[in-house]
Amino acid sequence: MEGCTRKSISGTEKRIMEKSKDYTPPRLAEKFLSWYCKPELLEDLQGDLYEYFQRNVKTRGVVRAKLIYIIDVIKFIRLYTLRKPEFVNTLINWIMLSSYVKTSGRNMLRNKLFSAINIAGLSVSLLVGMLLIGLLSDIRSYDQFHEKKDRIYRVISNYEYLDKPNDDWFASSSPKAGQLIKETVPGVEDAALMYSWANNDVKAEDKIIPLEGHWANESFFQIFQFPLLQGNPATALKEPYSLVLTSDAALKVFGTTDVLNRPITMGDKEYIITGVAHNVPEFSHLKFEMLVSLSTRTGEPGYEKHELAWDNIWQGYAYLLLAPETNLTDLQHNLDNLCTEQDKTVKNTKIKLKLQPLQDVVLGVEMSNEIGKTMDSKNVWVAGILTLIVLVSACFNYTNLSIARALKRTREIGVRKSIGATKQHVFNQFIIESVMISIAALVIAAGLFVVIKPYFLAIDSSVESMIKLRLSPLLVLCFVGLALCTGIVAGFLPALFFTRVQVAKVLRGGSDLKLFKNLNLRKVLIVSQFTVSLAFIASTVIAFRQYNHFVSFDLGFSTDNIINLKVQGNKPDLLQQELSALPEIEMIAQSSVVAGIGYYYGGSMKYKNPLDSSNINHNTIDANYLPMHRHQLVAGRNFTTAKPNTDIGEVIVTENVLDHFKIGDANRESAIGEIVKVNRKEYEIVGVIKDYYYGRADNDKNKVVLIHSEEKASYLNLKINTTNWLATMSKLESVWKKLDPVHPIAATFYSKQLEDNFRDLLAMLKVIGFIALLAISIASLGLLGMVVFTTETRLKEISIRKVMGANALQLIYLLSKNFLVLLLVATAIALPATYYFFTEKFLVTLKNHLPVTIMDLLTGALAMLALALIMISTQTLKAARKNPAEVLKSE
């Protein structure tokens, strides 16, 4: 119709037209037309469109003609062409509902094995879906209680040093940026400026209690919905040395919430309590027990110079309240201008600012310096995809088994159709059947949900602290919706299949039924199920091996039987003295940082050339540290127990420090006695040790300088020799309690710390392992069903073959051949894909990883194949063993 002109049809054109009759309009569009169009208009429209289609084929080519046809079909959706819902049909559907439920119920009971397989598969996959929905609903409910949530934005910053552009964003921003935006940028109504980490011990009424919190300005309570029990929200955080407690914190410190205007000591300063807030809701990304007025900081010396520096973006936070209908593009433009202006005040650094809606804070792109717990949206996407895979796999089972069993149902459909059931009715019947199955699965899944919830939350400590998975009516509704959708998806193909059953053929008892026309579809479904399962198993094995490799990684020193005790501001020497009385403790060392778990103390070092200053990592240790951790001395000596010299201190360095600064020659002894400058202080090298992993096992070996110093240690490293760990731990604790009644003891096994270091890998391992288990179970159940079905239908064939002299082995080969081919195809797809993913994508960024071996890939696949083989052979063996006389006599 698009600009078609009427032409007289000449002879040649006529021939072309006849030829072009071979082309038919797109079938789907045709079907769609006849679905929505009123029956009385349909023929006319179809004819018209066909005519135009043929013309377009001639003038514009087949592809465009088809496209135009599709567009026209869509354009014809008008009020007058739409089919009105037929009341009678709807009524019949309702009346027939009970019949459908009844027949479906009977059918389910008759085929207990198939129903069980379907329900089991669907219920585990629904369980995964439920967990995901619960997780999403919890995450989406973060920060929803703020009344002005739609207008609150956080300022996030990007830090570019020495013209090295990057795409790493920080959740924090410099206090100066917050202040300038609040004062100068139009469209910003108000800004809550914060400074993180106000955690401190507070003293009141002879009690010392550690509290966690932040600094915040007076706008905080104006912008956020943290209602005050006492105090004026507008002024509570205005004056310097004001402090707001939550009611729980007030109870902890004072035993009452009626504490307005009471004094409280923090550090050596006295603060006044100007407000008591309700406890922070659990679904808030901002968490605090107390808030201290930001103006307290402004008065401190050095504030202007250091904290208000434009490039001090590390601890400040700015939450903006925008005026309604503010243009975000204009605002961003203003922010960019501000940045260009302010970049002039700092050297070599460019800061970029951007606004992040409050809604995106918890579930968004992962950023450094988060003020609260967040979840990377990437992880949620991955979880979503895994869930979908499991759900689809279970649906495949249903589809496969239903179509395979179709032979037994076709007669019923034939009868139904011959007494007046339309395609629609048959379709509805089978959808209802699958929905019934999925509702049954939902009931089981709900039970599983309750059982598995605590295990799921324990996957990772960050999950546990963020997610509650509490049931709510809305959540239950979502679950039911999920089950309904799953049921419809699972039943769609079988239902479509049954609507195509041709009455005449079925009722004639024809054996030429083309039931296995869909054989290819079923093969594809089985192969895809097993491909996914095999990929999951291989991933689990690889991840497990990598995790083990990193946890037991040779860091270059020994961590056996060592407990690291955080000193938490106490006197380390006193603690050491008290602890050395315990007989279980073999040795005590002091250090400022625990090596190998991803913490770094950075500094700069210079040797003879004053211009060559280089970054090194350092640790402050005592004489016991090196022997306890079995570091290998290459040259020189260990520190002595004598007090270190205060003028020129002593250091022990790793070999790569010598190499970098070219200290001494190949003989390491030559470096002993050299003087180096570390953090602008002079030290003498007294020893050289082998390189070791200071940071994490998946990083390079750092250049490390070990300093012998009087500086207070942050950790006591305890070498323990005991068989009764529990008793030892409680002894440790009682010693600790005596010295520090305020803070709970923080003592951790070194091995545990190393494990925690790779927590993310472990969490991934657990999730993929769990999903792999489910995927395998579902795929195996499906396979079992298919095998049972095939052997059942071929029982007669088997019996005849047996009579003719086939033995059991031949029969097993005959029956399992097809399945084995499918499994092999799945293996051939899954293993290379997994290998590619791990070697090219995932492990590339992971240093020191184990190479992926063929065995990694094959172990899972072999186990899977063995499982499948056992299933197939037991079933076929059962059939092969049957007495052929009994099978054949029933004919």
Binding site: R6, D44, D48, F76
Partner: protein, 110 residues
């Protein structure tokens, strides 16, 4: 219903139906309209108008024979009813009246 008043396009379609006599079905009407007005007549629009005219009782339709050019679908032939004829005549009359009221010179000078 808006009564028997004809819109401009409705009038054109109705006239085309009358002009095509025994061959007035949707595609032919479209082609004829295009030929005479020079405007692209969209099938969807023409269909909607035909539908409306039939609802107003200005045309009546019957299904013809199945043909191969239409993929075995029958054509729906339209014919002008007496109400349609009256509406056309009325429209013409209104126009003629207005034309006759214009003095001979009036249009010449524009």
């Amino acid at each position: 219903m808006k009564g028997t008043n004809l819109g401009e396009f409705e009038e054109l379609v109705l006239l085309t139906i009358a002009a095509l006599v025994n061959d007035a079905y949707s595609v032919a009407i479209c082609d004829e309209l295009e030929k005479n007005t020079g405007r692209a007549a969209k099938l969807g629009v023409v269909h909607a108008v035909l539908n409306r005219l039939e609802e107003k009782g200005l045309v009546k339709s019957k299904l013809g024979e199945a043909t191969n050019t239409r993929g075995g679908k029958r054509k729906r032939y339209y014919a002008v009813t007496s109400a349609g004829k009256a509406a056309l005549l009325k429209a013409k009359e209104v126009r003629d009246n207005l034309w006759s009221m214009i003095p001979g010179m009036a249009l010449k000078n524009i």
